[in-house]
Amino acid sequence: MNTRRFPSLGSIYFLAIIVLLYLPIALLIIFSFNNATAMVFPFKGFTLQWYGKLFQNRELLKAVGNSLMVGLCSSLIATTLGTMGAIAIVRYNLPGRTVFLAVAALPLVIPYVILGVSLLILFNEFGIPLSAFAAGLAHVIISIPYAMLIVAARLVGFPNNLEEAAMDLGATYWGALLRVTIPICSPALLAAFLLCFTMSFDEFAIASFLVGVDATLPVYLYSQLRFPTRLPTVVALAAILMTVTISVMLFNEWLRRAGQNPAKRVGK
């Protein structure tokens, strides 16, 4: 084809995207090793002191703990509920299926700030105190559609009578689910869990309304931006977070692809 016709234009475009996207991140990581409080060139020298300070900051470690707790719990619950939803919409011809799908996917399109405010009002009415628990609950709500869609995509790739085959061979409905459906979906379950976890771990807007005194990591980070001297520590933390998040997402993508191959071969 005409890929050879404009080789320079295509590669310039690609390069521009890469630079715009990743240069700020690369700079951040570079500055996290800079031996100065101000983030300006020239480089003052290499240091690990900002990383060292991170681990002496009890408030920060507590925020990390909160984030891990909220992330783990909310993504476990969201994956479970999302899986149930996915089985319901893929395997059963539910009445009102389209309505259910639309409602379930609503958190995908509602701005998080608005969701945060409305949940703040709702939780207040119900007497649910502002806490890590409240933030976790909110994260379950925003994660469910992602979990559901990931698991549903996996289920669609398999013949829909595998559960029937299992029951035909003597398994009860729950036996069929445990022996066939769940094992087949396991790569998708893990992928959904990881995605929900990273979403919860990074989420700021909703958490900032709901966490109360149990600041999660993004909320804590934001609060620290007021203190210029703490900026390098925040940058170091951001560098760690970014590295972890990107690795998890890459692993997740690899998992999704690895899981899809056999489905294509068997499902025809």
């Binding site: 398999f158 013949p159 085959a165 003597g170 068997v266």
Partner: protein, 369 residues
């Protein structure tokens, strides 16, 4: 014990689907009564949407009848879930478990019944050898060809020693040559294991090849039940005659008849056909059918009693046979099939030739409708 593996008593299955405000009701099976004898190869044959798969699913327990009841081995199966019925199914798409290897797929049913490991392994190996896949136990289903997957599905069902094996178009996804080979293999396997097979297909040739008994279905009803020879040679109605093989249909006015033969007026000519069960009054319209290969063609000047005239429209040479597409004096199309045996002359009746069409009275018969 009863003689019947499966009995279907007055079973109706209604599916209702909502389209906007209208609820549409579809009778998948209408008041079906059917007894399937033990140890036979039984086939449900019909076009897609005729209710044959629904019937199979009613026996397997994946669907519950709207009314009526299903009995397996003489025991009523109402409210018995699929996992507690003494039947196993070979699914159309095989439905092999992609995350388990072949041996564990086959051993799935035994594993659930907590059969001791040693016995399980022995029976799995026997089942795999029965379907000639003895060496394949460690493969994943995705590493097998379609035909091999089909055999695994068969072994997975047979290893549980069901009273009845249900097969839902299991050969549909295979290519023609493999399908033909598997048809014979399946029939031999059925005789070997002696289990009642209930086979669903829309392929009439497949049904004729394998079955001891066939039920021809359309629109939720059984239109004829019989062995392959009866269905082909003595179709009861127009649908069966049309669906199984090729048929010519002619309309005639009743003249006279007894239990053996009936005289009908077709256009200007009188023809003789075999009498059916229906009785007619003189002048009443009667429909009768003749297979294309039972037609005798003769030159136009050799008219005999009971022959009708036609014109050759098209001559199609297909190797073993020659097909003649004819047109009768009434304008109706008519098909004749002549075997190219050792004493037949090729190109005896070229396109445009006038011919006389006749048949032996016992080869033409009156249909009920």
């Amino acid at each position: 014990m009863t003689e019947n593996a499966v009995e279907i008593r007055n079973v109706t299955k209604l599916f209702s689907s909502k389209r906007g405000k209208n609820t549409e009701e579809v009778h998948a099976v209408k008041g079906m009564n059917l007894s399937i004898p033990r140890g036979k190869f039984f086939t449900l044959l019909g076009p897609s949407g005729c209710g044959k798969t629904t019937t199979l699913r009613l026996i397997a327990g994946f669907e519950q009848p709207t009314s009526g009841e299903v009995l397996i081995q003489g025991k009523p199966m109402t409210n018995v879930p699929p996992n507690l019925r003494p039947v196993n199914t070979v699914f159309q798409n095989y439905a092999l478990f992609p995350h388990l290897n072949v041996a564990r797929n086959v051993g799935f049913g035994l594993e659930i019944k907590r059969t001791p490991r040693a016995e399980r392994e022995k029976r799995v190996q026997e089942a795999l050898e029965l379907v000639q896949l003895g060496e394949m136990g460690n493969r994943k289903p995705s590493q097998l060809s379609g035909g091999q997957q089909q055999r695994v599905a068969l072994a997975r069902a047979l290893v549980n020693q069901p009273s009845v094996l249900l097969l839902d178009e299991p050969l549909g996804a295979l290519d023609l040559k493999l399908r033909k080979a598997m048809q014979i293999e399946l029939k031999q396997l059925q005789v070997q294991v002696g289990i009642t097979f209930i086979y669903v297909t829309h392929d009439q040739e497949e049904a004729l090849t394998m079955s001891d008994q066939i039920a021809v279905m359309n629109k939720g009803l059984i239109l004829q039940l019989g062995d392959p020879v009866t269905l082909y040679e003595r179709p009861a109605n127009r649908f069966v005659a049309d669906f199984i093989g090729e048929s010519n249909f002619l309309q005639g006015k009743f003249l006279a008849g007894d239990a053996e033969i009936t005289r009908l007026q077709v256009g200007e000519r009188q023809v003789v056909v075999r009498s059916g069960e229906r009785t007619f009054t003189p002048g009443q319209e009667a429909l009768f059918t003749i297979r294309p290969e039972k037609i005798l063609l003769a030159a136009a000047d050799q008219a005999t009693a009971g022959s009708i005239a036609g014109v050759v429209q098209e001559v199609i040479y297909i190797g073993t046979d020659t097909r003649y597409l004819l047109q009768l004096a009434s304008g109706q199309p008519f098909i004749a099939r002549v075997q190219n045996g050792c004493n037949s002359a090729l190109n005896e009746f070229p396109k445009g030739a006038q011919v006389q069409i006749s048949w032996r009275p016992e080869d033409a018969h009156i249909l009920a409708n």
